[in-house]
Symmetry: D2
Subunit: 256 residues, 4 copies
């Protein structure tokens, strides 16, 4: 990441099956996406919700990379899981709920893999930067920040998507920052315009939930794009990026 590139990371909320994640990976690849996301370990508000496939999910992500060549971004929820994730993933995601889980931040700070650090649900931008500092201070300087919406009083959207965080971070830090309009809005039909807005605001990338069959998703179906919407989105983002002198890198060819 860096420079004029605007990377597109797509994929389902959760890895659900071999067929599902391979299908998702092909959709992302065909549309011109740059990396595949998908959760194997899922932090859920309720202990009775689907908690992810765990280690098996990681194996399926590795398979999807083998087939498509797309680098893998997936979440770690604790130090033990981070070791497993680091063996497979190209980038370790720290979710919003764990932005101030300092033990976990230190653990991934001692790893060599890039870390995607999501802003907490009511974290100030300053606190996001201080959490990044926990990772940097351990020696890992490959930190990518992510705006994913914060808590607000308005039930019209799942979160309030704070795109001003992008130019604020760019002013205060050298770290790249991407945006996640899927969680930022929680509403499928708002993802496309808000992804465009993120790129126009200067985001260094976007993180988009897309699922082969959103209506059957085990989590976050209501905010996941249909495959054809994802393809349309990448086209629109190319146009907006070009308008401000940036570009989405060409999809890598071949396998990993």
């Amino acid at each position: 990441m860096g420079g004029d590139a605007v990377v597109v990371i797509g994929g389902p909320c959760s890895v659900e099956s071999e067929a599902q994640i391979l299908s998702a990976a092909r959709i992302v690849k065909a549309a011109g996406g740059n990396a595949l996301r998908g959760g194997a370990f899922k932090p859920r508000s309720s202990p009775y919700s689907f908690q992810g496939m765990g280690r098996k999910g990681l194996e399926l992500l590795a398979l999807a990379r083998k087939e498509t060549g797309l680098p893998i971004v997936t979440e770690a929820m604790d130090s033990e899981g981070a070791q497993m994730v680091a063996e497979v993933a190209d980038c370790i995601q720290i979710g919003a709920r764990n932005m101030q889980n300092y033990s976990l931040l230190k653990t991934v700070g001692r790893m060599k893999k890039p870390v995607l650090l999501k802003r907490g649900m009511a974290a100030t931008i300053n606190e996001l930067l201080l959490s990044a500092e926990y990772i940097l201070a351990e020696g890992n300087d490959k930190v990518i920040l992510c705006e994913r919406g914060v808590r607000s009083f308005d039930p019209a959207a799942r979160n309030m998507f704070d795109l001003t965080a992008i130019p604020i971070v760019h002013r205060l830090s050298h770290l790249p920052i991407i945006a996640d309009p899927s969680h930022g809005t929680g509403l499928r039909d708002k993802v496309i315009p808000m992804a465009r807005a993120a790129v126009a605001a200067g985001a260094d990338g976007v993180l988009i939930e897309v699922h082969p069959e959103p209506d059957r998703a085990l989590s976050d179906g209501a905010q996941s794009l249909y495959p054809e919407q994802f393809t349309q989105l990448v086209g629109e983002l190319r146009a907006v990026a070009a308008a401000i002198g940036r570009s989405i890198p060409p999809a890598k060819t071949g396998t990993a």
Copy 2:
């Protein structure tokens, strides 16, 4: 307003003098802006802050229109002031603090002039639409909504600029909605990227504070663009609008 047009409304927070408002109007006109904003009646949190020039300010706005041909947008704070504003302005602004001042909404609902209704500081989008309904129910259907940022926990910006309001309003209502990144961020160097983001999100226009000499402004200087920044902004907005199949209307020529 309407269709594919993205209108650019520019001008100072307050009318301060003949020289200032004429200079501002020329800057807006030269840059390709479509209308002039400027407050004659200023709602201020403290009774000891500058409260605006009042009727004299309205006269100066009329003068600026006569010279440049730019239509005038200016705020009314009460029913009496609304009568005065309606005599001069092409569009009557209702500020965030008065979004639920129902007596004022009914008053402007009985007028023939378009009304620019700003979202309250902690109003839900549903409440914004219900406040518009107070104007529509009186017979005035020329209502333009405006997202201008809402209260949040993060002091990094003056407000939290909720651009998702734009596609949400477009889904729920036929009313146009513009965005005010000057109040939405409160930070001059964040206005340009966030105005671009507003257009990319689908805004039907932007409301931008620009001042001939921001450092001498009697109000909102810290979020007012320098003239050359405004010119640059209009150029960038043209490019982003074009990327999504929209355009900024050409500046009208001649005088009113």
Copy 3:
């Protein structure tokens, strides 16, 4: 108000009929309340909701005072209405939506009647004090502030009841501050414990919605106490007030 007194103001959200407001007034009087509240002019988010009885409602409030001797607190929504309210009411209420309606604040600032100024839905305590300053600066020093809950992200209650505002105001200002747990919580069964909490925090009074038949109320029924709950509440507040060296003044006897 002032000194060690903790005043109890009770009554329905809206004046609905002669029978309803007289019944409510008798309930408040019998329970030991000190004043009667009831809205004749109602600010409602939707223009299609019940908007209050207007002038007729004021006449019914005057009748209730004549019978019970209870002073009247009722809301004014605009300058014209304020004149009508001032002729009848013993205390003019400015609602949360109008906390920054500066024209209205100046109007009541030129009147002789006490003003009950409610905190706006997302107003800081500093802004509440600055709005009071608009009234004080016009010469009316009988301003009573009111905490009534602010907007929050949690749908568990209608608003977030910010009782810390009470000791903060007491530190920054000489003005009395009361609390409105009916709007502060929006939940009938939470009103009693939170009214107790308000008194324990040092509130100079409480504003409580009570209705002869809450299930038939035209507005705010879900947060209105049943008559017997109001009676119980006053008893509990006497005990809490006594525990911190304060007291609810005895109900006045006789008629106005």
Copy 4:
């Protein structure tokens, strides 16, 4: 905990030295407090702030218990630390930042010690209860919830202290809930009135920061009570508790 008892837990933010924690324990004991709090592992927004004494801090807490007989409440930040904490503490605290650290919740859910679970900085009450469910579902039913203030737009206090959470939790759950006015307000002189308010609202206990020398505290000095304030507070809480038919349990005599 439970029944009519209102427990008072006092102590410094951090364990800083043997002299400091022993002094604090004696202050709490002498004033009639029921348990001693003090952090050995400190979650801090910045990696460059004081991070706590770690295992040595736990040893000093054990020493303070030996001398005063007060049970110990102290925080665990990760699974490894939880093992250490569980060896010493009588109650394991999970801080606001870790309310949704599900791995940690499951770890303490498999322990036998009571868990004090603090509400996250922008957690809904429903999410707090769901996080408790993670602990309960592992077999540990000794969960105590804690309201400690949430994020808000008003800088007048460190957090917005949401005391309505107390009756809401009591309605939805059988779990006890205590309140932390030290973090809830962040302002020393607001702690006493808001602790009274918490008890009046029905809290099953209060968590109070008190330090032998607040002006020398390594963390949270500005919200820590002076010893004489803590003594005064316990007296005031006894009076408020009595007013609502509850009581602070007598301090245990003898050593552990």
